[in-house]
């Protein structure tokens, strides 16, 4: 034995089925990524300084463009998912018992893989897609180019649609889990005291749901910020999503550029950590403020 089995050691030993894969696979991978971004352990001998790859990335205006774009797509889709998910979950919760079973239909997009949802969006919204032909048959548009340019508009609308389609039921799932433990009598009391439906929702229900909303927002935001499958189908060229840039750098360019791909990944991870910390701090501060009132 390396050390006398203290309580911590036993605890770690018991947690080892969780810790071991985490340390070996995740930490190992992160460690290797960071090393390669610094030019250590790269497939080709690295020329230039230890921060050369970061220099290249950060001085490339297209990186900043992609970063902002990824950020925008992730923020809008996560916010839309949480908003829609909260509203729908609340309505589902209010449904009469007889309809509760049928409402489970909301879980279908959860089962579909992201790539399938991307194709659904593509089939419906492309200029030669289902909605476009429908509009044409109804006489709403005269020719294909008249159909609004949703998918490749430069705003990432296709990706936002797909992420929202996937994210809404996920947010609903988390929020419904809180709602089932919610005491209806609070609402009844408020209603008896004359609170409007609006007031009830914003002052009583929403604060209760806030933890689930924050959690789902963070998860959805970070997922769409870094995910690859939906951008692979629906991304636009300019500015592209970061994940696609990494994919191109990693697989389609010279091996000498591997550190750049790794530098982007490292920056993305760094951003994700900073985001989580900043977000939770802000939320805590806001909630403290609310309680003081």
């Amino acid at each position: 034995m390396f050390w006398a089995p203290s309580r911590t050691a036993i605890l770690i030993l018991k947690l080892s089925p969780l810790i071991l894969p985490f340390v070996v696979l995740f930490c190992g991978g992160v460690f290797l990524t960071v090393c390669q971004s610094l030019g250590i352990f790269t497939p080709l001998p690295h020329t230039g300084g230890i921060l050369a790859a970061y220099g290249v990335i950060l001085s490339d205006p297209s990186f900043l463009g992609s970063f902002g774009f990824s950020l925008g797509v992730a923020l809008v889709s996560a916010a839309a998912s949480v908003a829609a998910g909260t509203f729908l979950a609340y309505r589902v919760w209010q449904l009469p018992k007889a309809l509760a079973g049928a409402a489970l239909v909301y879980k279908i997009p959860l089962i579909l893989p992201h790539i399938a949802v991307a194709f659904v969006v593509l089939i419906f919204w492309s200029r030669s897609g289902i909605l476009s032909s429908l509009a044409w048959h109804l006489g709403l548009i005269q020719s294909m180019p008249d159909f609004p340019n949703v998918l490749y508009s430069g705003w990432g609308l296709g990706m936002i649609l797909a992420y929202t389609l996937k994210g809404t039921p996920f947010a609903m799932l988390l929020i419904l889990a809180l709602l089932v433990r919610f005491d209806v009598r609070q609402i009844q009391t408020a209603a008896m005291l004359g609170a409007s439906k609006r007031r009830i929702f914003f002052s009583i229900v929403l604060p209760r749901l806030a933890p689930a909303m924050h959690t789902s927002f963070i998860i959805l935001f970070l997922y769409s910020f870094g995910a690859f499958d939906i951008p692979y189908i629906l991304s636009e060229s300019r500015p592209g999503m970061l994940s696609l840039n990494v994919y191109n750098l990693y697989f389609k360019h010279d091996l000498a550029r591997r550190p750049e791909a790794m530098a982007i990944l490292t920056l993305m991870l760094f951003f994700a950590v900073v985001f989580i910390i900043a977000y939770s701090r802000t939320v805590t501060r806001l909630e403290n403020g609310v309680r003081k009132l």
Binding site: F2, S62, S128, F251, K252, H253
Partner: protein, 410 residues
Amino acid sequence: MTLRWNMTFLLLMLVIPFFHPFTLPARASGDILPDTPFEQILEQARGTQVQWYMYGGWTHVNTWVDTFVAKEMKQRYDIHVKRVPMDAGVFINKLLNEKAAGKTTGTIDLLWINGENFKNAKETGLLFGPFAGHLPHVRQYVNPDSITHDFGFPVDGFEAPFGRAQFVFEYDTDRTDTVPDTVAALKQWIMDNPGQFTYPQPPDFTGSAFIRHIFYAVTGGHGQYMAGWDPDLYEKNAPLLWDWLNQIKPFLWQKGRTYPRDSAFLDTLFARGEVAFSMSYHPPHAQNMIMEGSYPDTVRTFALKDGAIFNTHFTAIAFNAPNKAGAMVLADFLMSVDAQVSKFQPENWGDFPVLDLNRLSASDRQRFETVDLGPATLTPDQLAAVAVPEIPAQYLEALEQDWKTHVLGP
């Protein structure tokens, strides 16, 4: 703090094998030497299995390998061919990881590899060889001058030739009457027909080849680049290409705000009638698409007089291939007249032969000459008339990178 120290130690022990250095000797000779007499290699390969890692995106090519190649290899040499579909970029990474982990016996025997990845793979010591010069069919049928370089990078026998491809444009005679025949006429056509043209976004293989054509045409031909990478020449000439591409940009599909991600996407746009031209690095591509029912019968191909880039594609053997002998036999079989004729037939694949027809017997030559390529494919003579070689890989990398800055924009 022994605990913390021990945990760090444990972590390092677990993680270190991942980084087992890339400084091992570049070439692992394995169980067989490349220059073993071929009879002995045949003997050793009999009754074994060969894992062939290759691009898996073309159904007809997959079918050809799984039926014709697998059957012939079994009959002739009692070798079982197992095709593993994987993109070149992915299996290069797999090999890199195996090499980093010090794995001397891998899973990949033969690779169908492209020029950019070949350069990477050879530089990082992922390939076994030189072996190509020892293959009887290569020695007998191939003009050695035609296979010295792959994208400007010396082959040195680390790859065996496999086939030839050339860049063509595709159009539908029902929709387009006259097609532009020069780069200048193409530009005029694009400006006269806004929204009807686009090209896949580099670093897609086809889109990248398209911009190289323009690069050749607007900078005075390919000859100047053949000597290898010259940064000054590149700096001087590249702006001409960006000018050209930026001039057509407002007239492209989606006004050049976005580009198709790859050639399959462009094919779809073309098939749906959103654009008037598609393009391919495979001369029989249009014919294949017609046979598959994806394109109408009226689709034809054309090449520009300014030149149509061709390249030879190759197979290579992994440094840690468990069955190097079998891989060499397969690489050799692929260069036989039977395999090359079968591959040339458009219903099988349509890939152009890499054999020097002058080295064949009259009857073998006849077999190639009588292959019916279908109405949509240009004849080898038409293609040969405009053939220009590929650019060295460093130019390619620079063009793909700078396209993003100068044409796509931030």
